[in-house]
Symmetry: C2
Subunit: 151 residues, 2 copies
DNA sequence: TTCATGTAGATGCAATTGCATATATGTGGG
DNA sequence: CCCACATATATGCAATTGCATCTACATGAA
């Protein structure tokens, strides 16, 4: 066993470490800026957007909770409660899923679609400002490709 | 005013959007894997590492809270409570800062240094597994450089 | 039918976060 | 010296998260 492995695993080189730190910091910074834009526009939490977006994309504007879960990486209990909040605001509605008594549909309402559009009017420009404007098109493409390797 | 700008700002192109989604997802996935490794090793939360690391790096193993804040991007109230927890575990100690009655030193203890090392024995290999092993050295360097542009 | 096992989703509870505000101290006029 | 204002850190409280567990329904085998 080599010296480097004596603690049970390879250690990361400086490039790898820099990539990890960069990933954490960049995400934090950009997220903070986008969230600030959201607050300035008195919008609900950013996380709501993803769920609304998935629903709007989906056929008939509805998905099963576990489908949303898979698409958004949200934890099951976390999504369950997020749906509660969205429903309380009238942005989605729960509907029975007849083929399986355990299941349900989460359906986006008209208010939900409108809210997603309203959020996008802030979100879109915010992404452009905090990311698009800092990278060339080629760089953005390259960044996305590198990040994809980490999934 | 052009059609694209009628909503108050440029919209991001698909490359930019892909970079943003990739950033969020990659960070989430990698973080989840690393946290799983931490739990498997019965280690405290990952966030403790950064504070301990900054203190270990610092001269005399101590920093003022606001200095830690700047280095870690933690929110002020968040750090204040994190220090409480670290102190309760005996990993750091608060000490008076004589030159300014409002201030204090946060000093890393021997137990704190030992804990940081113990954490690194999991953290290092985890970073290597989940990031290093998925990228060439050149890719990691490139990724870090691109992410640096977002700060 | 019955039971063992698996899956969809909800929920109690403790810990953490975010926000706003509080406390204490420092500083530069006037 | 006194005051207005700035800075360092803490904290009450409501909202959110994580974890573990629970309920309800489904499914396949005996």
């Amino acid at each position: 066993m080599s010296e480097r492995e004596k603690d049970g695993g390879e250690l990361p080189g400086p490039e790898t470490t820099a990539a990890w730190i960069g990933l954490m910091r960049a995400r934090e910074r950009v997220l903070a800026r986008i969230e600030a834009d959201f607050k300035a526009a008195t919008l609900p939490p950013l996380g709501w957007y993803d769920v609304l977006w998935e629903l709007v994309q989906a056929e008939e504007g509805r998905l099963r909770p576990f489908e949303i879960e898979a698409r958004t990486l949200l934890a099951q209990y976390s999504l369950s409660r997020l749906i509660d909040r969205l429903a309380k605001e009238g942005l989605v509605r729960r509907e029975a899923f007849d083929a399986d008594g355990r299941g349900q549909w989460v359906v986006v309402t008209e208010a939900g679609r409108a809210m997603r559009e309203r959020m996008w009017r802030t979100y879109g420009p915010s992404i452009e400002t905090h990311i698009g404007a800092r990278l060339t098109e080629a760089e953005a493409r390259q960044l996305a490709a590198l990040l994809a390797k980490l999934r």
